[in-house]
Symmetry: C2
Subunit: 207 residues, 2 copies
Amino acid sequence: MELSERQKAIIEIVKANEPISGDKIAESLGLTKPTLRSDLAVLTMTGVLDARPKVGYIYSGLSFEPLLHEQLFETKVEALMTPSIIVFPKTTVRDATTSLFMYDSGSLYVTDETTGDLIGLVSRKDLLRSLLNNQDNDLSVAVIMTRMPNIIVSYPEMSVLEAGRLLTKHEVDSLPVVEIKGSKKVIGKISKTRIMEHFIKMGSERN
Amino acid sequence: MELSERQKAIIEIVKANEPISGDKIAESLGLTKPTLRSDLAVLTMTGVLDARPKVGYIYSGLSFEPLLHEQLFETKVEALMTPSIIVFPKTTVRDATTSLFMYDSGSLYVTDETTGDLIGLVSRKDLLRSLLNNQDNDLSVAVIMTRMPNIIVSYPEMSVLEAGRLLTKHEVDSLPVVEIKGSKKVIGKISKTRIMEHFIKMGSERN
């Protein structure tokens, strides 16, 4: 659903002149009031305009409601990704756990020291399991990490809906974001936390 | 925005008789076509009805789009909460960590053995910190838990929007759900994971 040019013009007139009667709006547009009846009905029904008896039309401050779906679900990962914390295969479990606390991150991405390519992922859960089972905190993360190609990745152009589906399907807390589809260069991460915050922020702005 | 009774009646008539002309709809309702013009404009603009030239009105199969906001954000915590994993203050860090893996949970709620009241919360992060810093896995969770009243709780009637705001504001992964507002009886938990899944599910159903 998209507003017509005439409906958009009505909104601008109301914004500039509120409260304004239907007759005045029609006059501004050089049209008759009956011609505008359907447009005004659509604009008040969708909550863009308020119609106050004996006062006139007022702009509600709400943007056009049905755009909601697009804003909510088609937002790109690019707009929501956060910096990723990188460690190397030789990093010890102890040092990795310390990094995780230092940056308050849920997972660490392991890249090759030479090429910079993503080769593994270590989650809070992986570290917890390792610390519970081993006395040896000097174990390297390479031993406990999940390895490529078993890591699900995202890329900047992916929609938040698609990223959320992958997080849900694979039951992980975040996805590494790689430069472009097929690349192994990590440029950030997209987490459940960020996705939930996105939805909550959108919902809060509209109330 | 809510549909009027007349608009709902129009939808039912179209569903039963599609394709149907505006004149026929007016006839069914005992009204004139000009009377219905605004209603038909609202229903076609919002995508509930399709108006096909020389054919008539057809039901699009879409539910009423602007209800989206309500379904998305006003869903109650009750509908989304999951079972909580309970431990007691004397439970050791080792046993608590094992429970966390067994139930694949992000956090454990600590209740009083006698009263059943919520007295604390232990997160994956709390356990990880304890295991990293102590050799003693026989420490009791009472020593490391976050204590009431420093725990933010939810209740069944809370909206998902409000629960999400609390999770975001307090930077936690889940909230214990108590019986009613003010109670200390835990009946479940509401997590970031479940809230994100709710939004992703809603977005997927509408595509």
